[in-house]
């Protein structure tokens, strides 16, 4: 059962930002609604107004521009998973999106909404972090880029300012020798653990490693300390460093014990998934 709310239907980012500024905590942006409406139905959050942003033009395109893949915040998961361009440029993201929830949720839910809602058990943020993504935040008077590492603050909390709107996700197009993978594991509806790995292999030497872990704790985290165990190493040496990297990544996940598993269990699974991700990229 949903409580009554009023609906605002702006058609520009500036208007959205002004509405957010005017109504503050009493209003919330509504896009796909797949997560927000559930929380509202449960009575976990209550808003007097929802700001429907689906009428804002220009936020649902996927384009490659000057070495950057740009995904509009209103792109649905389904749009991402069926984009032939993304299949070619970022196959790991396409695979991740193919396995988000179910087809109905992917049809309605947007990638921007997913990131802004910052549900700890969401997939995309973790991989986007390993892909070096930046979030574009706009308000009436300004526009800035937020690195994925800076975007996720805590469970259900991002670094967006109260009147800022996420409009786009920018991902550097991976080079020819770059590879990336996202693996997740769980036995409930949402994953218990998600691990993303991106790296470049040139003539048997690894560089530009980026590792991120998610779902296990409050928010996705980058694991720079574990990356150092791969960068500049040959694939054999890196392989030998996998157990140590797994332990570091497990700790960095800030895993908590809950219905999705105990802290120790999740930390262990982080290591397992990191190893499998590495093996899938470097064989």
């Amino acid at each position: 059962m949903l409580r009554r709310f009023r609906l605002e239907e702006p058609d520009s980012v500036t208007q959205v930002s002004e509405l957010l500024g005017r109504f503050g905590d009493n209003a919330k942006i509504y896009a796909g609604g797949t997560e927000l409406l559930l929380a509202m139905k449960e009575g976990l959050v209550r808003y007097e107004r929802l700001i429907n942003v689906k009428g804002v033009k220009g936020l649902s395109d996927v384009v490659v521009d000057n070495g950057t893949v740009r995904i509009g915040a209103l792109c649905t998961h389904r749009q991402v998973e069926t984009s032939s361009m993304l299949q070619q440029k970022l196959p790991a993201l396409v695979k991740l999106e193919q396995n988000v929830a179910n087809v109905r949720v992917r049809q309605a839910g947007t990638i921007g909404g997913n990131l802004c809602f910052a549900e700890p058990h969401a997939d995309p943020g973790t991989l986007l972090m390993a892909l070096g993504a930046k979030m574009v935040a706009e308000k009436s008077s300004a526009k800035r880029e937020i690195a994925a590492e800076e975007f996720f603050v805590d469970a259900f909390e991002t670094s967006l300012e109260a009147d800022e709107v996420l409009t786009e996700i920018r991902i550097p197009t991976p080079g020819a020798n770059s590879r990336s993978a996202y693996l997740k594991f769980g036995y409930l509806e949402r994953p218990s653990v998600g691990v993303a790995l991106a790296l470049t292999v040139n003539a048997g030497t690894i560089s530009d490693t980026k590792i991120a872990v998610g779902c296990a704790g409050p928010a996705p985290r980058r694991v720079a300390e574990a990356e150092a165990l791969f960068d500049g190493k040959g694939t054999q040496e890196a392989m030998r460093n996998l157990p140590a990297a797994g332990v570091i990544a497990g700790r960095a996940a800030e895993a908590i014990s809950d219905l999705h598993g105990s802290q120790e269990y999740k930390e262990h699974i982080v290591g397992v998934l990191l190893k499998r991700a590495f093996q899938s990229l470097v064989s």
Binding site: L2, R3, R6, G33, T34, L37, L38, A101, N102, V103
Partner: protein, 169 residues
Amino acid sequence: MSKAMSRQRDAQFIPVSFTLNGRSQEIEVEPHELLLDVVRDRLGLTGVKRSCDVEVCGACTLLVDGRPVSACTTLAFEVRGRSVLTIEGLAENGKLHPLQQAFIEHGGFQCGFCTPGMILAAKALLDEIPNPTEEQLKHFMHGNLCRCTGYKKIIESIMAAAKRMRSKA
């Protein structure tokens, strides 16, 4: 003035013109009304079921412009200008859709509660992929739960319908 009446006076009503099972409909909804409630309680089409209420089980699946949605978590105003198909609109001129026929012939249901959602989701699948592999079928139908059949008969039903629909096309 009663509390209910004053609340009514402040309410926001959104005109919604849409197509329901091929016929145009004009209704007014409040922003918070859910598609599931409007279709079941206001329009009287009870094939669509409320079950998990959290977009997991698929019993409330409807097709909006041919794509499956969870009506339990879709705001009713969202169907403005769109075409909604419920299980009641699937048979044409009294003739069952091949999916409905196949579910009967292959025993694709027991209690039947998940069946409207199953069949509509399967229609969306076959409209997109007329000749799915079993893997593709399972992946697409992963969000529709049945607690009776163990799924084997459902998969057989959809595969049989796909074959029949291809041979007709």
